[in-house]
Subunit: 131 residues, 3 copies
């Protein structure tokens, strides 16, 4: 469960690494699955925070909030754009595990991408298979 404080990227690599460490697995495949269609998963650079701000700027321009083209706007101007952004990014991400370590690159972080304006509670299933 991750609590978000409005639209944007939330890194949670540390929590995943801790959970994998506690699992006792050394080799296998970690799968993350987010149980929502208005938030998603992305792997992005974990160094310069400008990357996250720029990514958000790009998506905000690409998928206009309140676009009159969208019929589905029950929950507000960010409702349908959130679904489109989720379709353009990932609902699921798998990462190989080797000798107890996730095979992430040096500059890779795993992010929850919240697409709604309001704070939300997001559920991400973490699943390990291997030994």
């Amino acid at each position: 469960m991750l609590e978000t404080a409005g639209r944007g990227l939330y890194v949670f690599t540390d929590r995943i690494v801790r959970w994998v460490g506690q699992s006792g697995f050394s080799d296998g495949l970690l799968t993350l699955f987010i149980q929502h269609t208005s938030a998603s998963l992305v792997v992005q650079e974990n160094y310069d925070p400008d990357v996250q701000a720029d990514l958000e700027r790009f998506f905000a321009r690409l998928v206009k909030d309140g676009d009159p083209m969208f019929a589905h706007s029950l929950e507000g101007p960010d409702d349908m754009p959130a679904h489109v952004r989720a379709a353009l990014t990932q609902t699921q991400l798998s990462v190989p595990l080797r000798q107890g370590q996730l095979a992430l690159g040096t500059w890779q972080g795993i992010y929850l991408y919240e697409h709604r304006f309001a704070p939300q509670r997001r559920k991400i299933v973490m699943h390990l298979i291997g030994e």
Copy 2:
């Protein structure tokens, strides 16, 4: 094998749930892999049909059919746009399985997204690993 009747989203969560139920697996990882590059997979809201129509409207505006920029148009104005749409969405989707249940969120449905105008027969490989 799924038969499509032209461009749009086709929900097939029920077929997947049935297949997983018949497999006898209780814990593991389900992987769906679509063997085409002009149709793809998306997880979207399964409640309001407007979401599907809006998503299609968005993609139709983003990737123009018959765009003169595209050289690859052998099979018609929807040929190259179908490949671009597939690149922007998913060819593969994995969903964890726990106690015999797919770990989908309440409002999540699994869709085949057909990007060609004409009806097609689409092959999706369903693969389970676990116990």
Copy 3:
């Protein structure tokens, strides 16, 4: 490790097939994970090279190099666009393996999509689980 010679798509299906063949696995799940956030993975048509050129044209128009909106431009005008392109495509791809064969469709190829202008050395983790 794949060496790229600038932006574009690089097919490497053959290398994957060879590696899977040497593994001795007959049934399972292959996962590819690219350890970078400025290059990504896509499954695309392996027949007409125009598809690759058109896909690149589409992305070049969608995510403008040197867009003044981007603050993150330390490494040049292609720096932030590379991250955006990676977010819109895949960092990870899994393909089921059956009877020693990857379950790819007839026209599907697996590509590394290099988003930087300059040549790079890209690491892709290949992971198999099964028997």
